[in-house]
């Protein structure tokens, strides 16, 4: 099959793309602007320039790709059916799944579902591959651990109730053409 070619319009080149001196000056201007805002910004009504983490936390936009987590349905079970597509899609091979059978109508569930957080690069390909909307990129970014063992998240660590993931799921449906 011949690859289909899609022509995209690129913006015409600007002067700055050609003259390094101009680009340099533009860079200085950005730095200078930030300096000014930081010096005089308070007087213009800006309250805060620093989030006092961890006392304060920033609520990331739904587009943020944080820790991939498993969707837990209302009945407490995972939505994942252990199809293995995320495991296959994952470029860093950090997902390990061993399926098993259930009497439930879906027949199949992940007996083991591990993500090695130290290898995950938050690319979101697992989320895109999943046919069941069962693994999503949460806003969870606090993933540091004291030991290597702590960076291996098991199924119980990964399960997050579906209600808490609503923002991301809505975002996915709206933006990924599902």
């Amino acid at each position: 099959m011949a690859a289909r070619v899609k022509k995209v319009m690129r913006p015409p080149p600007r002067i700055a793309d050609w003259h390094s001196a101009v680009a340099l000056l533009m860079g200085f201007w950005v730095t200078f602007r930030h300096l000014m805002v930081n010096l005089f910004g308070f007087s213009r009504g800006r309250q805060d320039f620093t989030v006092y983490y961890p006392e304060q936390r920033f609520l990331h936009a739904p587009a943020l790709r944080g820790m991939p987590v498993l969707v837990q349905m209302e009945d407490g079970r995972e939505r994942c059916v252990a199809c293995g597509l995320c495991e296959w899609a994952c470029p860093t091979s950090c997902i390990t799944i061993f399926p098993a059978e259930t009497d439930d109508q879906v027949e199949r569930y992940p007996r083991v579902f591990d993500i090695d957080v130290s290898r995950c690069m938050f690319c979101g390909l697992c989320e895109e591959a999943c046919p069941e909307e069962a693994i999503v990129m949460s806003r969870q970014v606090e993933i540091a651990a004291y030991s290597r063992a702590g960076t291996l998240w098991h199924k119980d660590d990964l399960l997050v109730p579906v209600a808490k993931l609503k923002t991301r799921i809505d975002y996915l449906r709206a933006n990924y053409g599902r």
């Binding site: 059916v81 252990a82 199809c83 293995g84 597509l85 495991e87 296959w88 061993f98 399926p99 098993a100 059978e101 879906v106 027949e107 199949r108 046919p131 069941e132």
Partner: protein, 538 residues
């Protein structure tokens, strides 16, 4: 078959034997023609219509699987009509097909998935609900049926009629009411799991592989079934250094595309927790784990002690029909250096049929005989037993535990009782061998490479699919280490080199280089008295 005929397919000339079906001719020429119901080892059904092609001079499309090649035939498979027909066939098949791919064992090797992605349409036009039918039906000891997934190609039905000749499966009703089910008895024939191989979709699934692992994680290794003397060609599916499944590999000279259920299921012993993972040595009437080096030294010292005290003739050996030709050859060298005369082989026997299953439940008994290690109708077993009873043999080196299944327990106990020294090499700890001075763990077919000779004298290669733990010695390496310890040799065990040596030195194996054996094996040279100077071991 007569002369080859030449036909033109998509402007390319291909040759096919007279009388061949067009589909097979095109497949043999490397063309990828989609098809479901056609199977090279089953009768023609012509029910799926997916193999339709355009043949010049014929008004309508023809199914390639039921068309015989004719000289000068001009065939088009790249015609828009053909593409449209394929799309149509696939759309009709998908009308009622459940969206089970995420939970279907066949996903990844499913012909419906593959063909739909390549030849089908990406949009569904139906609005009607899908047909509901039986799911996960328990239709046999080892088989499950999902009627919704079935595409009614009747391969399984023909298999049960033509190959296993048991006729369990039938299709009831007609048209879009057709449904596959078992007839008056359950699908329990000795080859029932082959239906899961030939089912192009996931309608027939084996219980053994149900919801186990995705097929795309497997590395396949070409090997040979270790379970009986037929030597069916198999593929070992490995992942995470474990075997998940054995499937038959086509070899028209041995097993066509089939294998028996018993052979297919005989792989779990490889990962069995009961397996010996370390050599054992007898200390104060108890078997204690010991290091490999120590075990080798200890065994060599014992063997030398008996030989020096009573002479090499008092050493006996039971060779294993499960070890490769190379390993047995090396064992033969060791025995020759020690001066052993009494060599025998015990081969467990079991049920057989007149299709694939052979009575000898070991893969390489013939190979041992061809090496000349054992002779006689009972492979020297009777004479060895007599020699032990008469006290002429005082030490026995036992490879494998077949003897436990061949001799009744009291006779075996009496035999081993009479010995002064026992060295064994087994998969698991066997109570009968509790007095063994040294027990070595043996290596399974999946962890080493080598050659097996099947009952008909066909030499076939096995290949290592999984890696044993570090420091592990396989059987050939144990024999070699012992050989080095009892002689002044400094050898290593390299199966390829040993095989090359066997090919050079043994008449039956002459010219059978590993390249020549390939993945399909080759028959041994006709048996004849080995020429002078080529006398085999011992």
């Amino acid at each position: 078959m007569g002369e080859d005929v030449r036909i033109i397919v998509d402007g390319r000339a291909i040759a096919a034997p007279q009388g061949a079906t067009l589909l097979q001719a095109m497949l043999d020429a490397g063309l990828d023609i989609p098809h479901y119901c056609y199977h090279p080892k089953l009768s023609i059904d012509g029910s799926c219509r997916l193999c339709s092609v355009k043949i010049e001079g014929m008004p309508k499309l023809q199914i390639a699987c039921n068309t015989t090649v004719r000289a000068g035939m001009v065939v088009h498979t790249d015609d828009p009509d053909v593409a449209q027909t394929r799309r149509g066939v696939l759309e009709l098949l998908l009308l009622n097909h459940p969206l089970d791919c995420p939970i279907c064992d066949k996903a990844g090797e499913c012909w419906l998935q593959n063909y739909s992605m390549r030849f089908g349409s990406r949009v569904a036009r139906t609005v009607e609900p899908r047909r509901k039918h039986g799911k996960r039906l328990d239709i046999g000891e080892r088989m499950l049926l999902d009627q919704e997934r079935c595409i009614l190609c009747r391969r399984c039905v023909r298999f049960c009629r033509e190959v296993s000749a048991s006729g369990e499966l039938v299709i009831y009703n007609r048209g879009d009411r057709s449904v596959l089910d078992i007839a008056d008895r359950r699908l329990d024939n000795a080859y029932s799991m082959c239906t899961a191989d030939i089912c192009p979709v996931g309608a027939l699934e084996t219980k053994d592989f149900h919801h186990r692992l995705r097929v795309w994680f497997f590395t396949q290794t070409a090997s040979v079934c270790p379970t009986c003397a037929n030597g069916c060609n198999i593929a070992i599916d490995e992942s995470h250094n474990r075997i998940w499944r054995l499937t038959p590999r086509r070899n028209d000279a041995v097993n066509d595309t089939w294998m028996c259920d018993a052979g297919r299921l005989n792989y779990r012993f490889v990962a069995s927790p009961a397996r010996l993972r370390q050599p054992l040595a007898l200390r104060d009437a108890a078997l204690v784990p010991t290091s490999w080096t120590e075990a080798i030294e200890c065994a060599a010292a014992h063997l030398l002690r008996v030989r020096d005290a009573y002479g090499g003739g008092t050493l006996g050996a039971l060779v294993s029909p499960h070890l490769t030709v190379e390993e047995n050859f090396r064992f033969g060298e060791l025995l020759r250096v020690l001066g052993t005369k009494q060599i025998a082989m015990a081969v467990a026997r079991g049920p057989s049929d007149n299709f694939l299953i052979k009575p000898e439940k070991a893969a390489n008994a013939r190979g041992v005989r061809e090496l000349g290690l054992v002779s006689g109708a009972d492979d020297g077993l009777g004479s060895l037993i007599d020699a032990v009873k008469a006290g002429r043999v005082k030490a026995l080196y036992v490879c494998g535990d077949d003897i436990v299944r061949v001799l009744e327990a009291p006779r075996l106990a009496a035999l081993l009782e009479a010995l002064e020294l026992l060295i064994v090499q087994t998969l698991e700890q066997v109570p009968a061998f509790a007095r063994a001075a040294v027990t070595f763990p043996t290596t399974t077919f999946a962890e080493k490479s080598g050659v097996f000779v099947n009952f008909a004298g066909r030499a076939q290669r096995i290949m290592a699919a999984i890696v044993p733990p570090p420091g592990w010695l396989n059987d050939g390496e144990i024999f070699t280490a012992l050989l080095n310890a009892v002689s002044s040799r400094q050898e290593r065990f390299n199966p390829e080199a040993v095989w090359a040596h066997i090919v050079d030195s043994t008449a039956q194996f002459s010219r059978l280089t590993l390249e020549r054996l390939g993945t399909q094996g080759a028959p041994l040279s006709p048996a004849g008295a080995p020429a002078a100077g080529q006398a085999p071991a011992t």
